[in-house]
């Protein structure tokens, strides 16, 4: 982990409340999908943790939902502005554990890390299945990046306006898999957990530092106390205590 000054190259809305931001700078230390960055914003004391969506040499991108004051301020930023960012944070998904029949399942803004895993798995010759849940058709996040990898995500919407009516777990029922990587709100994670033979889950928690110093994010696991920011955000299925 280190502090980097990144420059906004693009910051564009992809749905009514979600933005895509591309940042250029030194991102060489990023080592696994599911890692996150912690962004300092003028006028806010704590940093904002956001998952890495995609990255290559010299750039990183994120998808973020403008929910509160900080993310709304981000949505008003313009190309050329710089951001003070800590990266990479967290353990990330261990892609080497994925089987040939891996399913990537996400709810809402839990999608970004799924793209990172899909990209990594495809480079290893495994094409995963992808199931995504959204509230309504308008909320569906960009699917083209998955299609470019040769994957057609199965979509569920809570109101039935697109794809399967229901939650991501309803979309999962139509699929055949033996390993799951998942990210999303806690209620969704819990539901997916009940449907997964084995796999990895990404958790969200309020953070003081994001790099292991404050114990603000500690949770109990079957193998002792872990810090979501450094020992997580990804936990293995067998260690989770709800």
């Amino acid at each position: 982990m280190d502090r980097q000054l990144l420059t906004i190259e693009a910051n564009t809305p992809v749905t009514a409340d979600t933005w895509h931001m591309k940042l250029t700078g030194d991102c060489a230390a990023i080592s696994a999908p599911g890692q996150f960055i912690n962004i300092r914003l003028d006028g806010f004391f704590l940093r904002r943790p956001i998952s890495i969506y995609d990255h290559e040499d010299g750039w990183v991108s994120i998808l973020y939902k403008a929910l509160g004051q900080g993310t709304r301020a981000m949505s008003e930023m313009t190309p050329g502005q710089t951001l003070d960012v800590l990266l990479p944070l967290g353990n990330g998904f261990d892609v080497s554990l994925c089987t040939p029949h891996t399913l990537l399942a996400a709810g809402g803004i839990g999608m970004p890390p799924m793209y990172g895993i899909a990209k990594e798995l495809c480079s290893r010759g495994i094409t995963p299945q992808v199931a995504l849940g959204f509230n309504t058709e308008e909320d569906i996040l960009p699917l083209q990046p998955f299609r470019d990898l040769g994957i057609e995500p199965v979509i569920a919407t809570a109101d039935g306006s697109f794809g399967v009516k229901g939650f991501v777990t309803d979309a999962m029922e139509t699929l055949d898999y033996d390993y799951v990587c998942t990210c999303g709100p806690e209620a969704m994670l819990k539901a997916v957990y009940e449907h997964m033979p084995d796999g990895q889950l990404s958790f969200e928690e309020r953070m003081g530092c994001g790099f292991g110093a404050c114990m603000g994010c500690s949770c109990r696991t079957k193998y002792g106390t872990k810090r979501i920011c450094t020992d997580g955000p990804i936990l293995m299925k067998d260690e989770v205590i709800w």
Binding site: M1, R40, F45, R206, A213, C214, G216, T225
Partner: protein, 311 residues
């Protein structure tokens, strides 16, 4: 003077009860872990000392989540003294610390009874790496203990006297600002034999989750720290420095070299930097490196000369 040696020429040098510090900057307990995360970023031996995470006799998981909330210019925390317990700290954390930090440490200790304080203090007193014992009688985030010892002069004196009996190292009592008159507590500690005062711990606060219509933190209340509390801390250090003769480690909202100077003018012999480390992991390093500039601007030759200059 990045690796300031403790010679007469070092303009940043200061002293706490005979313990010489290369500079007054000490990361505050609970905001620097056991140094490992920061040692990966810079040589932490530039620090004056380090106050490590509050240690209790037994292991503690701490409070349920969420434990952190943002505030204007600061944060609330309700970590609740999560730590692996004193025996584990001595067996594992201190040996790991030794590999990355070669100066005396400040051992921060908490308890839920007088016996817990003394047993923990006795064990840490026996460790060569420990230079100062900082007795936290001010944690607002644990029930039946912590802060309750720090809100009455009698109880504060009782803990002080009991800890002094079992230790040989300087004992700094860490005080809570959540009292009517902090100088009364400080005086009671001084009279009971305290070698110094550490102040301030966090101010009790609360945020509401407006969507859920409940307190945001699972513990309901949390301790406020960060720049928001700086003037409160300066005022309390200043008042206490006028009331006691023992040295003070001043803290609360420090995030710049200029803040360090202001706190020392208010009466602090050294300072701790807390929340600033969490948002800027290089905070202490940058403060130390910027001190010569800030001193020059204010015509300060030696930092030690300005301790209590504003009293």
């Amino acid at each position: 003077m990045p690796n300031g040696s403790n010679t007469k020429q070092n303009p940043l040098a200061t002293e706490l009860c005979g313990l010489k510090l290369d500079n007054p900057v000490i990361p505050a307990s609970g905001t620097f872990g056991y140094g490992q995360e920061f040692a990966k970023l810079y040589d932490i031996n530039i620090l004056g000392s380090i106050s490590f995470k509050g240690t209790t006799l037994h292991e503690r998981y701490g409070n349920p989540l969420p434990r952190i909330a943002e505030t204007p210019s600061g944060m609330l925390n309700a970590v609740g003294l999560q730590n692996p317990g004193v025996d584990h700290v001595i067996a594992h954390e201190l040996p790991e610390f030794k590999k990355i930090y070669h100066k005396p440490l400040v051992a921060n200790i908490s308890g839920f009874s007088i016996d817990e304080y003394t047993e923990t203090a006795e064990k840490l007193d026996a460790e060569d790496q420990v230079g100062i014992l900082e007795i936290n009688i001010s944690c607002p985030n644990v029930h039946n203990g912590g802060m309750s010892f720090g809100t009455s002069p009698e109880a504060a004196a009782e803990v002080t006297a009991a800890v002094k009996k079992v230790t040989h190292k300087p004992v700094f009592m860490k005080l809570t600002p959540n009292v009517t008159d902090i100088t009364e507590i400080a005086k009671a500690c001084e009279d009971a034999g305290a070698d110094g005062i550490s102040m301030i711990n966090t101010l009790l606060g609360m945020r509401i989750d407006k969507k859920k219509r409940t307190p945001l933190l699972a513990n309901q209340t949390g301790g406020l720290s960060g720049p928001a509390v700086f003037p409160v801390a300066v005022r309390m250090v200043w008042q206490t420095a006028r009331a006691v003769k023992i040295p003070i480690i001043g803290m609360g909202g420090i995030s710049s070299a200029d803040d360090v100077i202001e706190m020392m003018m208010a009466g602090a012999s050294a300072v701790e930097v807390g929340a600033a480390n969490l948002v800027n992991p290089y905070a202490c390093k940058e403060i130390i490196e910027d001190l010569p500039r800030a001193m020059k601007e204010l015509n300060i030759d030696r930092l030690a000369d300005i301790i209590g200059a504003a009293l």
